[in-house]
């Protein structure tokens, strides 16, 4: 009876409602069974090549056959444990910094932002300390996506903080420079920035810069500008009394900012920062246009292989699923953070 009442109020409250419900049921019925057939019931799961793929269903054999490539790019298969280890360390450091119940919070964020980048880079690149050198040309797949997202995020964070402070500064020259810098990188498309970095960096620097570094520099500049705006929101939300109290205690600008204002501002802007980070991690896929093959790029390239031509939709579904779960998890984390910080502030 309860179920019936629920159906009445939620699905058939009025005639219009009933019509909408029927239309929705029709849409679901029209699309969901064929979709399930394609992805699961009629799909081919086992085999080694395309002869295993039947008609009418997805060919997941393609993903199985190319799985290592999608994860590691052209990284030598004897060395992929280094990527796994770097990834595991990232999870460890990330959990330490992001989960509030773990001890040693004071050291977690510096460790993630300063110590981890060196360990990770050494593991991936090698060249000394017993690890053979793997040039960035061989990097690709999901590891490249994660690498670019994490490293541009790590480099962009301090730059974003400085830009946000610069934009709030009382000194006109510094404010103007910061505003111009932020608005410039926010106003142009990321794809143009990636082109710009890949074309201009070799021109304006005396040394030749690695292709991957160029892409990371381009992404960093853009992410920093977006992060600066998120942090500015946090800075504006810090009550003015906090500055005045710091000044009354005799603290100068830098000490007041670092000890009193920034910790509060960053706490407030953390959810917004996380959202910017998610949005921009999706845009790392654009490095495809300078022939760097991140997860989406390598899936796309693999589906152009004559051996597997015609299975690109399977590839997109696979890449899309990974992106979806990663971004969804991050956005849920950011939403819970927002709720928690909001609750903490309302006391």
């Amino acid at each position: 009876m309860k179920a019936l009442a629920w159906i009445r109020t939620n699905l058939f409250a009025t005639w219009v409602d009933a019509a909408i419900t029927l239309a929705c049921i029709w849409v679901v019925w029209r699309f969901v069974p064929p979709l399930l057939d394609w992805t699961i019931f009629k799909a081919a799961w086992l085999g080694d090549d395309r002869s295993a793929c039947g008609a009418g269903g997805a060919c997941w054999v393609f993903i199985r056959a190319r799985f290592d490539q999608f994860m590691y790019g052209l990284y030598p298969s004897s060395q992929t444990w280094r990527i796994d280890l770097a990834g595991a360390l990232l999870v460890v450091f990330g959990t330490w910094a992001g989960w509030r119940r773990l001890p040693g919070k004071r050291y977690a964020i510096p460790a993630l932002l300063v110590v981890y980048p060196f360990i990770g880079l050494w593991l991936l690149l090698g060249g000394f300390g017993g690890l053979p050198y793997v040039e960035t040309r061989q990097w690709g797949g999901l590891m490249l996506t994660v690498f670019m997202t994490v490293y541009s995020g790590i480099f962009a964070f301090p730059l974003g903080v400085l830009l946000a402070l610069g934009r709030q500064s009382e000194l006109p020259v510094i404010r103007t420079i910061s505003v111009a810098f932020i608005e410039f990188w926010r106003g142009v498309p990321i794809i143009a920035v990636i082109f710009l970095a890949s074309l201009l960096l070799p021109l304006i620097l005396p040394i030749n810069v690695d292709r991957l570094i160029r892409a990371v520099v381009g992404l960093t500049l853009v992410i920093a500008a977006y992060m600066a705006e998120a942090i500015r929101g946090g800075l504006q939300a810090v009550p003015k009394g906090q500055y005045e109290a710091a000044a009354a205690m005799g603290l100068g600008y830098w000490r007041a900012t670092i000890l009193i204002v920034l910790p509060q501002a960053l706490r407030i802007s953390l959810p917004a920062l996380a959202n910017e980070f998610i949005a921009l991690s999706k845009n790392t896929t654009l490095v495809l246009i300078v022939s760097l093959f991140d997860l989406l790029g390598i899936v796309h390239a693999a589906s152009a292989d004559p051996k597997w031509v015609g299975y690109n939709v399977e590839g997109y579904v696979f890449a899309g699923t990974i992106f979806w779960f990663a971004c969804f998890a991050m956005s849920r984390w950011s939403a819970s953070l927002e709720r928690r910080l909001g609750a903490a502030r309302s006391h």
Partner: protein, 388 residues
């Protein structure tokens, strides 16, 4: 240090100037260093500089254009082709994404469980997937996988969709679009005049005028009537099936259709959230107050809810429009000839003048973005809450 020098050194104003001079100096120093390197490297590589190349014959063919252009034209004309293509896909995308986004945003607030869930599912799906994946999916997964021209999908025997794009009728002579735009402008002017008159009449007699029904009739009806009249009077070049392909009409290439579909479906997910947030931001008490004044639900929506929701929605909508404008550059990934693709891609490859071309491209985006945000800011200030 002598006391006078000391006092001077600890003066806040002096310190401010010193730090600003240091930052500006460091910045100009870096720029100077980059420019010096660039000119040295350019001399080494034998790259010319200057903007003369813009007037050279381009020699580049563009498969899709809405302005007159041939490879014999110069590079400025090529740039203009890219700008026109960018604006075409962006403006059309903004209009369609707004409509779809509003529908989905309102559906998310529906009392109907099924409709609400479907809309929520769509938004969650869209927001967590890279736009490039949408573009690839629509291009390689959908449009390219459509049947060949022989088995096109047809609507009214005038519109045809197949793996070579969307075939639409094209006017052979006259300017039907100009006529419709003029009709639209007339409709808007009449509507504004009517609104002033209706407000005056209501102030003096208290009688309300069905201004929104009349407004819809004027703004939608007048251009529609004009469109019908024009469509019947101008001669149209309708695509006809012939052999293996179509003859006549205008072809919207697969790249255009796929990019537009991707931009619309992706941006609509974000606009839906803006719309939902805007409507939720209007307090429940506002609706109750309106009801207690005796306003009908329609009047409440029109006079109380929408104006307040718009105030919340306009700034985030502005950034969605700007994003869409910038995201039209994703067309470069499937070779839709927009600015980045034809200018930073083809023209740069042909001339090698990286710095000039990059500067022009970025300037165009900055100017276009500025125009969009100026328009939206003007609109925002018009509807903003007046506080005293």
């Amino acid at each position: 240090m002598s006391p006078a020098l000391r006092r001077w050194f600890y003066d806040a104003r002096v310190r401010a100037w010193i730090s600003q001079a240091a930052v500006a100096g460091a910045m100009f120093g870096t720029i100077w260093y980059f420019v010096a390197n660039a000119s040295e490297n350019m001399v080494k590589a034998g790259i010319a500089s200057g903007f003369d190349f813009l007037w050279r014959t381009s020699g580049i063919d563009v498969p899709f254009k809405i302005v007159d252009y041939t490879p014999q034209n110069n590079i400025v004309d090529l740039l203009w082709v890219g700008v026109a293509n960018t604006l075409l896909v962006s403006l059309l995308g903004m209009a369609l994404a707004t409509i779809l986004g509003f529908l989905i945003g309102i559906a998310r607030l529906s009392k109907n469980f099924l409709l609400r869930s479907l809309a929520t599912g769509f938004v969650e799906f869209v927001r967590n997937i890279p736009l490039l994946l949408f573009v690839f999916f629509w291009y390689f997964g959908v449009i390219r996988a459509l049947p060949p021209p022989r088995d096109s999908f047809a609507a009214f025997d005038t519109f045809f969709l197949n793996n070579r794009g969307l075939y639409v009728p094209a006017p052979t002579e006259g300017h039907p679009f100009a006529a419709v735009s003029i009709a639209f402008a007339i409709g808007v002017v009449l509507f504004l005049a009517l609104r002033v008159w209706a407000a005056k009449r209501q102030a003096s007699t208290g009688k309300a005028f069905p201004i929104w029904a009349a407004g819809t009739a004027l703004i939608v009806g007048v251009p529609l009537a004009a469109a019908i009249v024009v469509a019947l009077t101008t001669s149209w070049n309708v695509p006809v099936r012939g052999g293996f392909n179509f003859r006549g009409g205008f072809v919207l290439v697969p790249e255009f259709v796929a990019l537009l579909a991707a931009l619309v479906t992706y941006t609509a997910g974000f606009i839906a959230e803006v719309v939902r947030g805007g409507i939720l931001a209007v307090g429940k008490g506002q609706k109750e107050a309106a009801a207690s004044l005796g306003l009908s639900p329609g009047q409440t929506l029109r006079l109380i809810v929408v104006p307040q929701a718009l105030r919340v929605m306009v700034p985030p909508m502005t950034s969605q429009y700007l994003n869409l404008l910038k995201n039209s550059s994703f067309g470069a990934a499937i070779a839709y000839p927009e600015i980045v693709s034809v200018f930073m891609g083809s023209a740069l490859n042909a001339t090698g003048q990286a710095i000039e071309i990059i500067a022009i491209t970025l300037a165009i985006y900055l100017i276009a973005g500025l125009a969009v945000s100026m328009f939206m800011n003007w609109y925002n200030s018009r509807i903003a809450l007046v506080t005293r």
